[in-house]
């Protein structure tokens, strides 16, 4: 590249890398790159109804969750103790984790993001590191904020990918040195800002979606010159070798973000994330007939295209080969090599199938029924047709093959200030201004151009347990000042990592099937026809189904007018009841008899507690004498037969 561009390597100011390595490992459920993880919760009696990974697709849970334990510990919302941690308990779990050969541990404490005094997660981590030498411990509080399950999910994914991320980032170094470049390496993160290499090696989860973000930002840059495309939202389709990412680019040049809660490959997390749909279609996708039907992808020859594809003299028919055969304009490889190898009917079917796949992806990502411009970028963009349903026009910009790299190069620098301040004497607003200033200053220190810096993230968490203290987290971002690049060249990853087993040995094979999309997959309820769906109501009794539950959950939170607490963990519990054969009946108030007795129950308190200290009422029973060690099945059958007070005792055990 440097030869063709005639650039002196010493004039390169920095190298910014956007990578999809980490996220691909999750999406493809790659056992070789995802480590098994043990989860230690510091939660006391709470959260039993929602064990770790409870809401994950089961295929991913099986690969990653190696062990979990619910141990003493955790804080109340006011910072008082649910209970202190117990060293002996943790040591005991460490022995099991060691025995199972797990090298990655997540510690998640109830209300740990406000724990600045007890330092429970930190203390637990010290014990674990002492007991299992060489283990990686991820503290949930370093990964995300309040929201117990979502924070834990992010921490678990982070832990699963940690070793692979460290190795990958380290490996970026050598080719850069070999090129004679002496400059810092940055990794782009989800929101289009950059992380230093060593920060990314600790928090790879933050970089998971940098690939699509970069492509979209780069695409925005590429069409900037064309006047009529400004101030208009566009669909960006990034066709790579194995997958195609589809996302909505807003008029301001940034991708549309997912909601307050985001989902990656079926895992729910609580930080924002570009809303991108990935499908298994790319230039290297295998094309073949399965049971008479022409299938494109999701298996792919990936980066081995230049040797495996037919046009390059290989023996695997790929999407690229079919594109070359179907178009007189596309010139890739040697067209002659295709002669006599592809059927005419197959070429037609290939065109129809590719078009269908892309149109379906566009349709899912649209936020309104109107057509909108579609921008095709990425190395594999040639395989896409020039006309697509849902597109007001299809644009293939010049240099579209490197949109991703352009996006990475124009990524911004950011810095975070995470601090506890007294709100006595100063208002929160004054403090926010002060800390924002500090965050901006640090952003400049980390390499940003002063006048481009702005605040991009603000969080404040009142610490009710210390009078008038609040934890503030503020992040600012700005454009990189290339004139100061040499200050940031060193990467601190310990050398022991280099000696680890060669992870990349599998790359010579055909890339594994990439799961068709990022939805919950195997655990998602089947698609139902919303308009024709009828709830089951017989003899004026409504039997709640999972679909009913999904809808009621959405409605309840809206009717909560901000309060009432998130129904998510209750929904998981109720879904568990339905899936294990439980029956939930609803009757109309109009049908009540005058002498019926209507009991009432619910939770009371601060809704913040509801997203952090999850229910656990069955686990502790105040009268040990009434704890009857009964077979659960017997209890359940008893429950169905009668409704006497003895049931209530049994309920504690189910």
């Amino acid at each position: 590249m440097f030869k063709s561009a005639n650039i002196d390597p010493s004039s390169v100011a920095s190298v910014t890398i956007g990578t999809t390595h980490f996220v691909n490992a999750v999406i493809t459920r790659d056992r070789l790159r995802l480590d098994r993880v043990a989860v230690i919760r510091l939660c006391g009696a709470f959260s039993k109804h929602a064990p770790p990974c409870v809401d994950w697709p089961s295929s991913l849970r099986k690969i990653i969750l190696g062990h979990f334990a619910l141990l003493k510990g955790g804080l109340e919302v006011d910072g008082s103790l649910i209970s202190d941690i117990r060293e002996a308990e943790i040591v005991e779990q460490c022995a099991i984790i060691k025995e199972k050969g797990i090298k990655s541990v997540v510690v998640n404490g109830v209300f740990s993001p406000i724990d600045t005094v007890e330092r429970q997660e930190e203390r637990a981590a010290e014990i674990i590191q002492r007991e299992i030498p060489g283990v990686d411990v991820v503290l949930s509080k370093t990964v995300a904020n309040l929201g117990f399950l979502e924070r834990e999910n992010a921490a678990i994914l982070n832990a699963a990918i940690l070793r692979f991320a460290r190795k990958t980032i380290k490996s970026f170094q050598s080719p850069i040195k070999a090129l004679g470049l002496k400059c810092p390496v940055f990794i782009t993160q989800n929101d289009g800002t950059i992380l230093s290499g060593d920060a990314a090696a600790r928090l790879p989860i933050r970089t998971f979606s940098s690939g699509p973000t970069n492509s979209m930002r780069g695409a925005a840059f590429l069409v900037e010159g064309e006047k009529d495309q400004k101030g208009e939202a566009m669909m960006v389709i990034d066709v790579g070798g194995t997958t195609t990412d589809v996302g909505l680019l807003l008029a301001n040049g940034f991708p549309r973000q997912q909601a307050a809660y985001s989902e990656l490959s079926g895992v729910r997390m609580n930080f924002s994330y570009p809303d991108v749909k990935s499908i298994g279609l790319g230039g290297g996708s295998l094309v073949r007939r399965i049971e008479g039907k022409l299938v494109v992808g999701p298996e792919s020859v990936g980066y081995k295209l230049p040797e495996k594809a037919l046009v390059f003299g290989g023996n695997v028919p790929t999407a690229t080969d079919y594109t070359v055969a179907s178009s007189s304009e596309v010139k890739i490889g040697d067209e002659e090599k295709l002669k006599g190898k592809l059927e005419k009917q197959d070429i037609e079917d290939f065109k129809t199938e590719t078009k269908r796949m892309l149109e379906k992806a566009i349709d899912t990502m649209k936020t309104s029924p109107e057509d909108l411009p579609v921008l095709l970028v990425g190395g594999g963009a040639v395989i896409a047709p020039d006309e697509l349903k849902g597109a007001s026009r299809v644009i293939k910009p010049e240099w579209s093959g490197v949109a991703n790299a352009i996006g990475a190069a124009m990524a911004r620098v950011s810095a975070v200030v995470d601090t506890v301040k007294s709100t006595e004497g100063k208002t929160t607003k004054e403090l926010l201004e002060e800390i924002s200033k500090e965050a901006k200053r640090r952003t400049v220190d980390s390499g940003a151009l002063a006048d481009s810096v702005e605040v991009v993230e603000v969080e404040d968490l009142p610490l009710a347990y210390i009078a008038h203290k609040t934890r503030f987290i503020i992040r600012a971002a700005g454009d990189f000042d290339f004139s100061r690049a040499s200050d940031f060249a060193e990467l601190h990853i310990s050398d022991q990592e280099i000696n680890e087993s060669e992870l990349d040995s599998t790359e010579n094979e055909v890339a594994p099937a990439s799961i068709e999309d990022t939805s919950a997959g195997d655990d998602a309820p089947a698609d139902i026809d919303i308009l024709s769906y009828k709830p089951r109501v017989t003899d004026r009794t409504w039997y709640i189904s999972e679909t009913d539950l999904d809808w009621i959950t959405i409605g309840c939170y809206i009717l909560g007018t901000g309060g009432g607490g998130s129904p998510y963990s209750s929904m998981l519990r109720m879904r568990g009841i339905l899936r294990s054969g439980g029956v939930i009946r609803v009757v109309s108030p109009d049908d009540l008899k005058d002498d019926d007795l209507v009991g009432c129950g619910g939770g009371a308190g601060s809704p913040t507690v509801g997203i952090e200290r999850l229910a656990g009422d069955e686990s502790v029973f105040p009268h040990p004498a009434s704890l009857i060690p009964t077979n659960v099945d017997t209890v359940c059958s008893k429950l169905k037969r009668s409704c006497t007070s003895s049931i209530m005792v049994a309920v504690q055990l189910t």
Binding site: G44, A45, E76, V77, D78, G231, L250, A251, N252, Q257, Q258, S368, K429, V458, E459, A464, I530, V537, W542, W551, I554, G555, C556, I558, L559, T561, G562, G563, G564, G565, S566, P567, S570, R573, I584, R585, V587, S588, L592, D594, D595, L597, V598, G599, C600, G601, G602, G605, S606, T608, G610, A615, D617, V620, P622, L639, I647, M648, V651, T654
Partner: protein
């Protein structure tokens, strides 16, 4: 949840419940009635209704207290914190007293407890309950799911309004971006306010390409739940207690919901975060709340906002029961 129920019926001798009802349909509690009543738990049916038709921060802000046919509704009561602590209060001087005692206990019980209330009769339930609210949440959820499926998320606010009874009862109050959040915790409640700046949420505000449908800023003060949506003016100081009636876009007991513009899900007060694009929707309160006594308890005064008055957003439309609509149709 179950522990509180179990302890209640051990000590309470007025008979076991034959049915369950949710305390409040709003939020997590909207599902609790169904969890407690499930065949694997108490195995009794749940009534399609609740005591609030929304969510409120205190137990005395409920329709049985509005009707006040009895001096005391919410005792006996039993609370459990899930950590081994249980409290039973067989009698009290008033429902406000029950609330105050429970609040005091709450701060010692981790700011969140399970509560079990002594049962009321079927006849009382018929008179007091806000009716068909499980049906109502089902209808709202169905419209949100449909808007997502049909790629109409940019019109999801309008879909929700259709589900609650149309434009005469509900309205889009504001669309914009969260630009400020303040929260403090006192006696187990989160108090605070969120500031939203007008923006075209389906695209981006800062591009300046299209003028937004909603401009300026509003603030939404909350005590666990959103209390009001009030326009604020940049040139004036935003002082709590000096808001003017003419700036009020909606106020309790009407419902004020903040919706995530990206997917139509509600965003709760603990989740308000800088930068989120949101829709603010107002829904007229149930007629169970709009009597003078109802407004006294559930209106501005119930939140110590004596300087503001309740003006209804629209006309209440009673939700259609799913049971009435679908009985025997499958």
């Amino acid at each position: 949840m179950l522990q509180a129920q179990e302890e209640l019926y051990k000590l309470y001798h007025g008979g076991r419940a034959t049915h369950m009802i949710a305390l409040e349909i709003g939020g997590s509690n909207g599902l609790q009635g169904m969890i407690i009543g499930a065949s694997t738990n108490m195995n009794i049916p749940v009534v399609d209704g609740d005591w609030m038709g929304r969510a409120y921060p205190t137990k005395w802000q409920t329709t049985p207290v509005v009707f006040k046919e009895r001096d005391l509704i919410f005792a006996p009561v039993c609370v459990a914190d899930g950590n081994g602590n249980v409290l039973y209060m067989p009698a009290a001087t008033s429902d406000v007293k029950v609330e105050n005692v429970l609040r005091a206990a709450l701060s010692q019980m981790g700011s969140h407890v399970a509560v079990a209330d002594g049962p009321v009769t079927g006849a009382e339930t018929k008179r007091w309950a806000v009716e068909h609210t499980i049906s109502l949440s089902w209808r709202i959820g169905r419209e949100v799911a449909r808007a997502r499926r049909e790629n109409r998320i940019d019109r999801v606010a309008e879909s929700i309004i259709d589900a609650v009874g149309g434009p005469e009862t509900g309205r889009v109050i504001f669309k914009g971006k969260i630009v400020g959040v303040e929260r403090t915790l006192r006696m187990g409640h989160i108090y605070g306010e969120v500031i939203i700046e007008g923006a075209d949420v389906n695209d981006d505000s800062n591009s300046g390409a299209t003028p937004s449908e909603f401009s300026g800023k509003i603030k939404i003060p909350f005590k666990n739940e959103n209390i009001a949506a009030i326009r604020i003016h940049d040139e004036e100081k935003n002082v709590v207690g000096e808001e003017k009636n003419e700036d009020v876009l909606a106020i309790v007991p009407d419902l004020i919901a903040i919706i995530d513009a990206q997917n139509g899900e509600a965003i709760g007060t603990p989740e308000y975060r800088y930068g989120l694009l949101v829709l603010v929707i107002g829904i007229t309160a149930s007629e169970r709340w709009t009597s003078p006594r109802g407004i006294e308890i559930g209106g501005p005064k119930g939140f110590l906002m004596n300087h503001l008055e309740y003006t209804p957003l629209g006309k209440f439309v009673k939700p259609v029961s799913v049971i009435d609509e679908y009985d025997g149709k499958v």
